[in-house]
């Protein structure tokens, strides 16, 4: 029986989640690993922008906080740590881990990095096929910030075979982070599709952390969970016989039941019979689940088919600027005042001929389900809310236009309707993404494994 836990499901996840996972892995005994998935589609581009500002950075900003509570325990108990916290700078991540390790008396800790996912210099995008889900997006001639192929599990396996105790990757398949320690432990062949699918299903189910154990799930009165402020992160058990169970850290909140496992199994899946990863194509169409005691579910019937011939690569482009401004109204007649604010803001942008795309939301009427033209708030005929926050969002390529547009919200503090207050505005640099399919032969993964002292 091999156990693998998850310590984070995105960059920004709870930093105290991994501790109980590691404690549980140690208490159960037996071989185990823990993985961290912290690299969203555009996180790598934000990391590239950070690296431009400071060449030493550009890796997961919470790296030290995530690893500090568990590093000594994992090293002592032989629990490998795998994570894509390298982001745009895996060597930078390795140095940060090495500094942390030295400080904790682990100067011999073997730290590995996986590189080669960055394909900016080796691939001509114009010759690549665009990934189907993105076909309708037009990126124009914007400058490229990052271009990263999703590597498979094999470079991580290579690192583990070389004795790595911590592996920091850049972009790779999210499920590959969990699959790699299983391949390493069981010696699965590179074309044993059913086994690779089993391990990738573990990764798929666990890669969003608490989403398998109650996060994005609880709905008071309908789907309640214990202690949502302390949801335990997930742990999977995989046997040599191919049986797989999912559960969670001991002495934590959250649940592992059939409902939450179903939700996460289908999460971000399109055709359930063809879920594509760099390692294998998964077929979930024959999956069935069985509750096996409290907070423990058996997952059966995962099948595998050959991996795709090409790798997915996500390219991030400079996307201009986003400007946002918000202001509130409350009490009698606030709906009419909010609608007036919306119309005045749009009229101001027209009069000033600012080159921006715009949208207004009436938060309290429709904050997230509307479209850019405001179909829902314009047609709203329900009761007047007690309180409405008006949000202007603008996008454009020139920072000054975007900034000026967002500041129009601020000007309403004096020029707006009666009783408007609480104005805020800000601008943020935008990143746009487009995914492509890249031939495997043009992607060259590289693995380096060294003791902590040698990284410094």
């Amino acid at each position: 029986m091999f156990r693998i836990g998850n310590g984070a499901g995105f960059s920004g996840d709870r930093i105290d989640a991994a501790g109980p996972v590691v404690d549980t892995l140690i208490a159960r005994g037996g071989p185990a690993a823990i993985f961290f998935e912290v690299l969203g589609e555009r996180t790598v581009a934000l990391a590239q922008l950070e690296k431009r500002r400071d060449p030493a950075r550009g890796y997961e900003p919470m790296l030290e906080r995530l690893l500090e509570p568990i590093l000594v325990k994992c090293a002592r108990h032989g629990i490998a740590i795998v994570g894509n916290f390298g982001a745009a700078n895996p060597p930078g991540a390795a140095r940060a881990i090495a500094r942390l390790a030295e400080g904790l008396g682990l100067g011999d800790l073997r730290i590995a990095i996986v590189e080669g996912d960055d394909i900016r210099d080796g691939v001509d995008l114009a010759r690549l096929e665009v990934y189907a889900a993105d076909a309708a997006l037009d990126q124009g001639a914007s400058a490229i910030v990052s271009a990263n192929a999703y590597l498979n599990a094999q470079p991580i396996v290579e690192a583990l075979r070389a004795g790595a105790q911590v592996v920091a990757t850049g972009r790779c398949g999210d499920p590959s982070l969990a699959l790699a320690p299983l391949i390493h432990h069981y010696g699965w062949e590179e074309n044993d599709w059913d086994r690779l699918a089993l391990g990738s299903a573990v990764g798929h189910l666990l890669e969003c952390g608490s989403q398998l154990t109650g996060g994005v799930y609880y709905d008071p009165g309908y789907k309640d969970i214990p202690d949502p402020a302390n949801i335990g992160f997930p742990i999977a058990e995989v046997g040599a016989d191919g049986r797989m169970f999912v559960g969670k850290a001991d002495a934590t909140g959250g649940v592992v039941n059939l409902q939450v496992v179903k939700e996460q199994l289908i999460y971000e899946v399109h055709d359930p019979a063809n879920y594509i990863t760099p390692d294998v194509t998964l077929d979930f169409s024959g999956v069935s689940l069985r509750q096996d005691g409290a907070d423990r579910v058996e997952v059966m019937g995962v099948r595998g088919k050959p991996a795709p011939e090409r790798l997915k690569a996500t390219v991030c482009f400079e996307g201009g600027w986003l400007g946002e401004g918000e202001i509130s109204v409350a009490g009698p007649n606030c709906l009419a005042r909010a609608k007036s604010i919306a119309e005045v803001l749009l009229e101001r942008l027209r009069r000033r001929k600012l080159k921006v795309q715009s949208r207004v939301d009436l938060i309290g009427v429709a904050s997230v389900h509307d479209d850019d033209s405001g179909t829902l708030w314009r047609s709203y005929s329900g009761p007047e809310p007690a309180d409405i926050r008006v949000r202007l969002a603008v996008a454009g390529s020139a920072h000054d236009d975007v900034d000026q547009a967002a500041r129009e919200v601020l000007a309403l503090l004096c020029c707006g309707p009666a009783g408007s207050g609480g104005a805020r505005w800000r601008t943020t640099q935008r990143i746009r993404t487009q995914s492509y399919l890249v031939p495997r032969a043009s992607v060259h993964p590289r693995v380096s494994v060294k003791p902590a002292g040698d990284w410094l």
Binding site: D134, E268, V269, H270, P272, S367, V368, R391, R432
Partner: protein, 127 residues
């Protein structure tokens, strides 16, 4: 108290749960009834056309429904609904994660006994 076999019109949320996820400008939403018996009834009512109409104002291009009968679950894949996706949208929820509850607001007709919390719903289907 009305009979548990009475048909009531309720939001989908009263009989099913679900979760939304995004990839690029494509959104997927799972719909999973609490009671297995509701699966076939939902299969007849949750047509791709009805789901597409829910997202018409967002100019969704297409809805594909994948059925998972072993899990009693549906997966709706909605194309071009995210107004550019997380990186291009002006929407606060660029990921589209809240859209599971837009789908869960769709009215469906169900026997009262299949509701998650039948005690909350009156004979007229209203909470």
């Amino acid at each position: 108290m009305a009979d548990l076999d009475d048909l009531v019109t309720v939001p989908l949320h009263a009989v099913a749960h679900g979760r939304a996820g995004d990839k690029g400008n494509r959104l997927n939403i799972s719909v999973i009834p609490y009671e297995a018996e509701a699966y076939a009834l939902l299969a007849a009512q949750l047509t791709p056309a009805r789901v597409l109409a829910l997202f018409a104002h967002r100019r969704a291009a297409k809805v594909t429904r994948y059925d998972l009968p072993l899990l009693h679950a549906f997966n709706f894949v909605i194309d071009d609904v995210l107004e550019g996706g997380v990186n291009g949208s002006l929407n606060l929820d660029g990921h589209g994660k809240t859209n599971s509850f837009r789908l869960l607001s769709l009215p469906v007709e169900m026997p009262r006994r299949l509701l998650r919390a039948p005690q909350r719903i009156g004979a007229d289907g209203q909470a």
